[in-house]
């Protein structure tokens, strides 16, 4: 007891002495902040200024698409236009920052659209309201009136980049399998769309079953698996001309799960011979092939690291489907997944720091991410059937297919931030599965 009293007395006296010590403080007041808030950053996008009479509607539409892009990330929250105090009537006039501060807009996007001779010019500026400074410099894009959405996406990408410091993903496209009809008679065809589900274009007719399309890094070609010949075979399609061809291979041998190497010259895919499935690599130009795995188990779903030095794939060599990493030239593979359940369809992040995967455990499917060494596994989603993750070009968002339960169940595309937030459906005209996110254009 006496000891306790003595300790208390000492603590009390030291506490009393603390201000005396602080009295002698020299230099600035130092404060450390370790807790912030996780919330969307409020911003404002007033309608862009129409600098020509026929650009009025376009100016509004472009501003709306920019706002939709930014708000759709979940990282930003638009201050509604009804709350705006001041209006932007001229692109060059000074911004009344006090008016935007008053409505708590931290960022402001101003822009102008002009149309002349069938050519549309969009220019914009991004402002940091509370410091009263411009973020970056003004920029403009020019294009045809038909390409206004793409110009709006480019503006949004710039705004996103200037505020977050990371590249955007709005001016990008997604190739996927469009599905129609009941489950037992479902027609599947390749389609490509903007990242937000707009501008859907079909690449195949739907006569043959198609699976797992994969964009090349330049977005010009698509690899996919087609049952056109009766057996699954890997095809490559030129997006510009919509011409496709079968990659060379032995007749009667199934090849599937293709994916481009970062250099675009090599394709890695699976070949089934008998009951054994292994991973092979093919040089597209020469047609030369090389076997990368030789285990008597099923190895498939290969995906290159961004630098092309490694490949992550799934294998059941341990008894259940798990994820392994090996050198791009083959050889010894190291298992990286260690949790319960089955892991499949691994995809290396464009940042290079994470691997996304599908996980099946306890009767449910998850989309998850883990470090490239298998650590820090995090499950982002859970449902009856989630599968086939694909990364946005900036490595920040994952798109995947989700199928609902039952005979009338349909597949659709969803996206989710790698923080697990902002899970939302991507609108497509029909059912959709097997997304593959292309590069930023």
């Amino acid at each position: 007891m006496k000891q306790f009293v003595a300790t208390c007395l000492t603590t009390l006296l030291l506490a009393v002495m603390a201000p005396v010590t602080a009295l002698a403080q020299n230099g600035p007041l130092r404060i450390e902040i370790t807790e912030g808030v996780v919330e969307p950053l409020p911003y404002a996008v007033p309608d862009f200024v129409a600098e020509s009479a026929d650009a009025q509607e376009l100016a509004q539409q472009i501003a709306r698409v920019v706002a939709d892009d930014l708000t759709g990330t979940g990282l930003f929250r638009e201050v509604p236009r009804e709350a705006h105090i001041s209006q932007i009537t001229s692109f060059g006039s000074p911004v009344q920052f006090a008016d935007w501060k008053a409505i708590n807009a931290q960022a402001l996007v101003t822009g102008a659209v002009s149309s002349e001779g069938g050519r549309v010019v969009v220019k914009f500026r991004v402002w940091d309201v509370f410091s009263g400074t411009e973020l970056g410099e003004g920029m403009q894009f020019a294009g045809s009136p038909d390409g206004w959405r793409r110009m709006a996406h480019k503006v949004a990408d710039q705004v996103y980049s200037r505020i977050t410091g990371e590249s955007g993903y709005f001016d990008s496209r997604v190739v996927f399998v469009s599905e129609s009809g009941p489950k037992d008679q479902r027609a599947k065809r390749l389609a490509v769309m903007d990242y937000d589900g707009a501008n859907v274009q079909y690449l195949t007719s739907g006569n043959a079953l198609v699976l797992a399309p994969r964009f090349s890094n330049d977005g010009q070609r698509v690899l996919y698996t087609s049952y056109e010949t009766g057996l699954p075979r890997v095809h490559v399609l030129e997006v510009g001309t919509v011409q496709s061809r079968i990659l060379p291979g032995q007749d009667g041998v199934m090849s599937f799960a293709p994916r481009f190497a970062p250099n675009g010259q090599t394709v890695v895919y699976s070949i089934t011979q008998g009951s054994n499935t292994d991973i092979w690599a093919m040089d597209i130009a020469s047609g030369g092939t090389r076997q990368l795995t030789s285990a008597p188990s099923i190895e498939t779903a290969p995906s290159y690291s961004p630098d092309g030095s490694q490949i992550v794939f799934e294998s059941d060599r341990s008894g259940t489907q798990q994820l392994y990493v090996m050198s791009a030239s083959g050889g010894e593979a190291q298992r990286i997944s260690s949790g319960q359940g089955r892991y499949s369809t691994p995809v290396w992040s464009p940042r290079g720091d994470m691997i996304a995967f599908t996980k099946q455990n306890a009767g449910r499917f998850h989309i998850g991410v883990m470090r490239t060494d298998g650590s820090e596994e995090r499950l982002l989603t859970a449902s009856f059937l989630d599968e086939g993750p694909t990364w946005a070009p900036n490595g920040r968002v994952i798109m995947f297919a989700r199928e609902t339960q039952g005979a009338q169940g349909a597949s659709s595309l969803y996206s989710v931030d790698i923080s697990g937030r902002n899970l939302k459906r991507v609108r497509t005209p029909e059912g959709a599965s097997d997304p593959s996110w292309g590069p930023l254009q």
């Binding site: 006496k2 002495m17 007041l29 807790e35 912030g36 996780v38 410091s131 977050t164 410091g165």
Partner: protein, 373 residues
């Protein structure tokens, strides 16, 4: 010469014979005391134990005696298992009805039972025996997604649409008309979306039995002789503590007073609450994008302030940063700058008389505890 040997041999012989035929190694089991245990209903038990006995009347623990009255307290099996344990000194806890059996706490039978409205009654053992296998309850995850799971609020907490801090009286805070409000708990959230229909059965099939209460140390049989000896071993540590305290106080005094009182000493120093108020005001505006590369950057921002508590914008500068590339560092700096500027309003609430203490500030923004791992 061998007389001693003869005597010893004879005595041992007698002892061995007595041991063999004297019944020392008899196999008769020792008598076991049997006590009548009556099963009571919970209501009866509560009624019987409601008035607490006045334990002050129990001065000396008495030896164990078999129950002789019908209304005597039911004895615990512990008394049967450990009849030789010395009686425990009387403490108030002993009289409290405890649902768990306490095998190590034999209940002393009070000698003067007439003063007790109810005798101390331990809980009847058969009613509280724990099952061998217990299912651990699994809290259902909330259908919200957050970077860090927010635990379920306490039952008495209200879940408000917005999380708010407790408003407390502060010496430095300006008087406001705002009514005192209680802090609300953030809505429970988890890191993944789990629907009820898809919730797995994660209950363990078995759980460890609850640990029994640690045994009370056996009291000294004769505390009196040790009382005089106790102060001796205590004396040395007490002196040490006092010496430590004295030296710590002297050191603090010396440290405080030895420093020359130079620099910005115009005015008293900021109190901890004033500093905390400043820190909280800024952190409420610090928006962290937990999934970005900037969330890996710790940045220190330096700035000056005027007497009204407003930041001199032109002095805002990044004094140091670590943990990311140039773009991520710049983004982290911009976020910190926005936080400082956005929440100042008409000026941070800092005491003007201590202006010299806060006219120059270095603020470090460390998102380590927030970022996704």
């Amino acid at each position: 010469m061998h007389t001693g040997h003869y005597i010893s041999g004879g005595a041992h012989g007698v002892l061995i014979l007595w041991a063999l035929f004297g019944g020392i190694f008899g196999s008769d089991p020792p008598d076991v005391e049997v006590a009548e245990v009556s099963v009571m209903s919970e209501a009866e038990f509560a009624a019987m134990t409601a008035p607490q006995p006045d334990m002050s009347t129990v001065e000396e623990p008495a030896a164990l005696t078999p129950p002789v009255e019908e209304d005597a307290a039911p004895e615990t099996p512990a008394q049967e298992r450990e009849p030789t344990t010395p009686p425990d000194p009387v403490e108030p806890e002993v009289a409290e009805p405890d649902p768990a059996p306490q095998p190590d706490l034999p209940e002393p039978a009070p000698e003067t039972t007439e003063d007790l409205t109810q005798p101390p009654a331990p809980a009847p053992a058969p009613e509280v025996e724990a099952p061998d296998v217990a299912l651990r309850p699994v809290p259902r995850p909330a259908p919200r997604v957050a970077p860090e799971a927010v635990p379920d609020p306490a039952p008495e907490a209200d879940v408000a649409p917005e999380v708010q801090e407790t408003v407390q009286d502060s010496d430095t805070a300006e008087t406001s008309d705002a009514e005192e409000q209680q802090a609300t708990a953030p809505e429970a959230a988890t890191t993944e979306i789990i629907t009820e229909a898809e919730e797995p059965a994660r209950a363990p099939t078995a759980s460890v039995r609850p640990q029994t209460r640690p045994s009370r140390p056996t009291p000294e049989p004769e505390p009196e002789p040790t009382e005089t000896a106790e102060p001796a071993p205590d004396a040395a540590p007490q002196e040490d503590v006092e010496e430590d305290a004295a030296s710590a106080i002297a050191g603090a005094l010396e440290e405080a007073l030895a420093e020359p009182t130079e620099g910005p000493t115009d005015g008293p120093p900021l109190t901890q609450s004033e500093t905390d108020g400043f820190r909280i005001a800024v952190q409420d505006c610090w928006v962290v994008d937990v999934g970005s590369q900037a969330a890996n950057v710790t940045v220190t921002v330096a700035f000056d302030m005027d007497r009204s508590g407003q930041v001199v914008g032109s002095t805002l500068r990044m004094s140091s940063a670590s943990g990311g590339d140039e773009a991520a560092t710049e983004t982290a700096f911009q976020a910190a700058r926005r936080a400082i500027l956005r929440c100042q309003g008409d000026g941070y609430n800092l005491p003007p008389e201590k202006f010299d203490q806060w006219k120059s500030v270095e603020m470090t923004f460390n998102p380590e505890s927030m970022r996704i791992r």
